[in-house]
Symmetry: C2
Subunit: 211 residues, 2 copies
């Protein structure tokens, strides 16, 4: 269980993570502008454990989700009331993923993320590229490339859980549990990229792992 | 064809659209912070025309996608070279969608978006809620609710194309064309919410419209 405390908002400093700016342009003779963010492209990986026939997810506290659960009037307090708004509201269930912030092939970055976050030591040939798409259309239009890889228990050489001060929990789900999750109305604390990845898996891979 | 001209970057002013800030917090005793954006929740609607058995998409120029197609070194010019980077790079194919910026039921907002963007005058009872999820996990954790609605040619009372200075094109695709799109490796100029919506439709609704 996450213990959350001393939650407050401050102005954006000169941030290495979020670089907002305005793009000005003329479209069909009409002068327009759009406010957006400079963000890194990324990779996401569907990791399926064939030994125990479970999908591998990462679970972590996501400040952006947490903040969006707080009612407008309660955002104006000096400190957010963490009794009313516990950390659990911001815990997201996601595919293993990472940003492309190093000058190396994206397959290498995907491989590293699977090791660091999930603890599985995969080979490059285990990674199969599925599709790439735009992460968003509003403020961030970065490219995300989705991979699929099958792992087995003997490839689990590390604990996983992320590096530095990341606090990531590795979570496993069976195929029926995934189907149950997708049948619910939500709200799910997952992004659409995760839901698309799960649908892709169910449609293209799940059958061979069903009893 | 979009004609794009005079494209340049300027600092973010006090923007009504993008409100970046830093969220500070203590997680399990560790002092942390995360930079994020305040964004509106939203609705997205899968609109399927049963008269002609086509999916209704909206197509528009998305500055965030366009900007992310520009190489880092070319971003440093005073003006972006629109011969090298034509508008077509930033044209996204999406589900009909809109932000929840009015104090009314989200079904009303979904209904309005279908009319304004796609030109179909639907009734509230035509809207079926599928699921809600988090739009993103990084900088924007707003909630998006996905609806499904079937329309027919006689419900098309308006042109569609958006309001004010929106430049939106309504695009139709057959079920085989959707399947073709999802089989490609990309890069697709679509967000994962659109891909999830298409997979959901193929899995849950498409069969009854196939010959």
């Amino acid at each position: 269980m996450e213990i959350l405390d001393k939650v407050y908002v401050s102005p954006l400093p000169d941030s290495p993570y979020v670089k907002p700016f305005r793009l000005n342009y003329t479209q069909n003779g009409m002068v327009k502008s759009w406010d957006l963010l400079q963000v890194h492209d990324s990779v996401a990986i569907i990791v399926f454990n064939i030994t125990r026939k479970v999908m591998i997810f990462v679970k972590q506290f996501r400040p952006a989700i947490y903040y969006n659960c707080i009612h407008a009037k309660d955002r104006e307090q000096e400190f957010i009331d963490t009794k009313k708004y516990p950390a659990s509201l911001g815990i997201a269930l996601e595919m293993c993923a990472g940003i492309i912030d190093k000058n190396k092939p994206i397959e290498d970055i995907a491989r590293e993320e699977v090791l660091e976050e999930c603890g599985y030591n995969i080979k490059l040939k285990d990674l199969h590229k599925i599709i790439s798409y735009r992460s968003g259309v509003g403020v961030q239009g970065s490219l995300q490339t989705l991979f699929y890889c099958e792992v087995s228990d003997d490839m689990k050489t590390e604990q996983g859980g992320g590096v530095d001060d990341e606090i990531i929990e590795v979570v496993e789900m069976s195929i029926p549990q995934i189907e149950e999750m997708l049948k619910s109305e939500g709200p799910l604390a997952s992004p659409p990229s995760c839901l698309f990845a799960l649908m892709w898996f169910l449609q293209n891979k799940a059958d061979k792992f069903r009893k």
